[in-house]
Symmetry: C2
Subunit: 288 residues, 2 copies
């Protein structure tokens, strides 16, 4: 155990009841509570969200829960990286006050039968390629927000469509929490930090760094008023030429509701992409 962990031991709640007792104690003391839900395998991107939550609240809870409902049977649930002791050490170093790390049976006990879906903003892009994902995300995020009852919750812009789904979910269910977006943290070559980057071989890692450069090109061209359809087509080709094995989509969309543009961009926009290297699927996005 590092000396850091010894000087910053992190309390861990395994049950909803334990989580609520701690949060209610803080609230009774007049403290504001921030929340950062994660699937663990933490990196600097997650820690930046914890620090952002810390700026907005007196106390920060982070959850680590690899949510089976947002993985398809063919996806990487079993090999998704799990490293709780290391995660706890990193969270403590970033100023987190409590780790909520429930087992699957604490979140989905026997007989669990409820599903939450968000139509519209979920349907396209990631929703088209991973049809089960946003339903799983909406269900678990609603549960986590109801369980933790934070004042603010921070979600990374790295998963931009997910951020919009969660904003819609929170508005639609009147959950009394403010959603704060956290900027994407990147490596020196611009690769967005992701727990899935750990799957990449050194050669794949070189290729992966080209994704954000292609999106930056696309954003530049969109700002100049080039037709969206042309930019998207060229960017798919550019990502392929960079060495990716396939491109699921490149899309330039309205930044608020992901509606497509006809012709050129004419309002706040975002360029989003998903592409695969070997068995690893990477996503990224940039503002326009």
């Amino acid at each position: 155990m590092s000396s850091l962990a010894e000087t910053s031991p992190l309390a861990v709640a395994r049950t909803v009841q334990a989580l609520r007792e701690t949060v209610q104690g803080w609230r009774k003391a007049g403290e504001r509570v921030g929340f950062v839900p994660t699937m663990g395998a933490l990196h600097e991107g997650h820690l930046s969200l914890v620090r952002l939550a810390r700026e907005q609240a007196d106390r920060v809870v982070a959850s680590v829960f690899v949510n089976p409902k947002q993985f398809a049977p063919t996806e990487d649930l079993d090999r998704y990286p799990r490293q709780e002791a290391e995660d706890a050490r990193l969270l403590a170093s970033a100023g987190c006050d409590l780790l909520f790390a429930p087992g699957p049976e604490a979140i989905y006990p026997p007989g669990f039968s409820t599903a939450i879906t968000v139509a519209g903003v979920s349907d396209d892009l990631e929703g088209a390629f991973r049809p089960q994902m946003f339903g799983g995300v909406a269900t678990v995020v609603a549960k986590l927000l109801i369980q933790a009852a934070p004042d603010v919750a921070v979600f990374g812009e790295k998963d931009y469509q997910q951020l919009l789904v969660i904003k819609r979910l929170v508005a639609d269910l009147d959950l009394p929490v403010r959603i704060v977006p956290g900027p994407t943290v990147r490596e020196d070559d611009g690769l967005a930090l992701s727990s899935r980057n750990a799957y990449l071989t050194p050669e794949q890692r070189m290729i992966a760094g080209r994704l954000n450069l292609a999106l930056a090109d696309a954003a530049r061209r969109a700002r100049k008023g080039e037709p969206v359809a042309v930019i998207e087509k060229d960017t798919v080709a550019e990502i392929g030429e960079a060495g990716f094995d396939s491109v699921d989509y490149v899309a330039i969309r309205d930044a608020e509701d992901l509606a497509p543009f006809v012709g050129a961009v004419n309002g706040p926009a975002r360029v989003l992409a998903a592409a695969r290297i070997g068995a690893t699927r990477l996503i990224d996005n940039l503002p326009i």
Copy 2:
């Protein structure tokens, strides 16, 4: 205006914000909050739920919202009775402290996209005949419970399957509220009080009173150990002979999860039925 209404004026909240301000004020004063959601057109059945909430809490909020999401296009949304002034007077007389009466746009603002479904206990019986209903109920009840954030909420046993759906929903989403069932209130001939009884002609009203008697017969036979399938078939016939135009179902089921029995009843059970007189559909149920 009656003298009762004058001496017990009832505060009305039209927005979620107004509702929350009042409830939070009570909570800060250390008061426990009870909640009774309704679709209005209140009768003694609803008022018994308000009184039950009053026994369990210091303050009672009742909502009146005719939820469009739980009506199919062919159903009686437009003609469902609406009588807010009378409802407010009745609620005040039963000890209600606040009426939450939002317009449809306060519950489903433009862009609303979220749906909540509860599988299993929703699928059969009412769920088979009104496929849209329990999704609409689950969505609006989750919203109302999140909005009002009560300590206890009371739901009538008259809508027994709905009560089970809501118990499942609350458990699955970890909503911090205790669900209390309220016994069905009946007329002298045993007809369960229902806002839809107002649709009945005097002749239909006579026929309607036979439904609960048929269910009482069924319950008696089930307790004696007769085969469930035989009782159900006989009871359908008995309701038809009483003058109902059609019977959607008669079902003897497990009282907790509505699972069917093979052979005779062998645990806590309930007999449930739905039948139609003219354009009016009535439901009822009894413990076995």
